[in-house]
Symmetry: C2
Subunit: 214 residues, 2 copies
């Protein structure tokens, strides 16, 4: 049975899609158009009561929150496709650490930048340039720590590609693409090499061709 | 060898401490006083480059981010103390889902309330009553969804206590204690029963007696 992914052409659903691609899991994307309020439809809210995307349905199993879904598939299909948690419990601990850093240090300023730069006109407000600047400064500090880390290991959790790296793909693609802030990556030698590596994985090259990133 | 927990008498370190207690793991708390800037000390920044607490050291293994640390110990000592991930991969998926909900839906408004209500005077600013009200409304909506969920299962991820419940303890204790907003829990029958259950676990009763919650 093919996994159903309910989601939009946005970053969080792509986090799940690239994970499924790394694990060679077939899926069907079921569009949920947030701009039409489909995520607030009572039928959808039964799947995801907070009204966020994505949600997966795998047989009669339903799961939401993109970072929970990628952990679920990395665990369920441990030996299929790319190993995404490392090999030992200690490596997995570091994968979890960097997944948390992505969620709590990296994504919040970048998310605000993406909303302000890319979605403000669709959402009907004027971008706040001071806020964008403030978030860019916060993100720069985070990337300086990444630069230091990536000078000692090829990937975030060690010398192996993992969920921690994968989870950065969708929002970083916004940063280097439509946000026109590729210099934030390119100016940092090790971050730049890491980004070249992970963003050129076949799994991501396929997903990033979807319309929003063009 | 005893696990070292670097942290303050704040919520995130207590998330780790209650997990270690559930797993019957001995630990030593090494105080890091944020009010004195000890978290920005160069020696500490070598352990945790973002300057947050807590960090653990377990032999020569170092790990930070409280939710990564609790996952690490729940995995490493699976069969010691309380089972905190459920029994199956599907149960574990739901534990991960509700851990993510805690981190992304529940904690953010509550964290802002705690800073505004409890720490503003120490930090030298006047609490913003409109912001507190706005956060209370957001949190109320989240708790309404919890109420619905907890009407169908005893705990968040199912009929078993897990990391998902445990992760709520420290900040909810602020809410019902010093924030004086216990009514937000008590007014919701199933949330209230859940809170009575989890907050009376011996592991948490010991931790909550630490000074800050009095």
């Amino acid at each position: 049975m093919v996994v159903k992914v309910y989601g939009s052409d946005y970053a969080s659903a792509k986090r799940v899609m690239v994970c499924l691609a790394e694990k060679n899991i077939q899926y069907e994307l079921i569009p949920v158009d947030i701009t039409k309020g489909e995520n607030k439809d009572p039928v959808y809210l039964k799947l995801q009561p907070f009204g966020s995307t994505p949600v997966i349905q795998d047989g009669d199993y339903t799961l939401y929150e993109s970072r929970a879904i990628i952990r679920y598939y990395a665990e369920k299909y441990k030996s299929q496709g790319t190993e995404l948690f490392g090999k030992t419990i200690e490596e997995r601990g570091l994968v979890e650490q960097w997944l948390e850093v992505e969620a709590h240090n990296f994504q919040p300023p970048l998310y605000t930048m993406v909303i302000q730069i890319l979605f403000s006109s669709k959402m009907g407000f004027t971008p706040d340039q001071n806020l964008i600047q403030e978030c860019e400064e916060k993100l720069a500090k985070v990337l300086d720590i990444y630069e230091e880390r990536l000078s000692t290991s090829k990937y975030l959790a060690g010398d192996f590609f993992s969920l921690a790296d994968l989870s950065h793909l969708p929002f970083t693609q916004y940063l280097v693409g439509k946000c026109e802030k590729e210099y934030m990556i390119k100016n940092r030698k090790h971050v730049s090499a890491w980004w070249d590596d992970i963003s050129n994985r076949p799994s991501w090259k396929k997903i990033r061709e979807l319309p929003l990133y063009k």
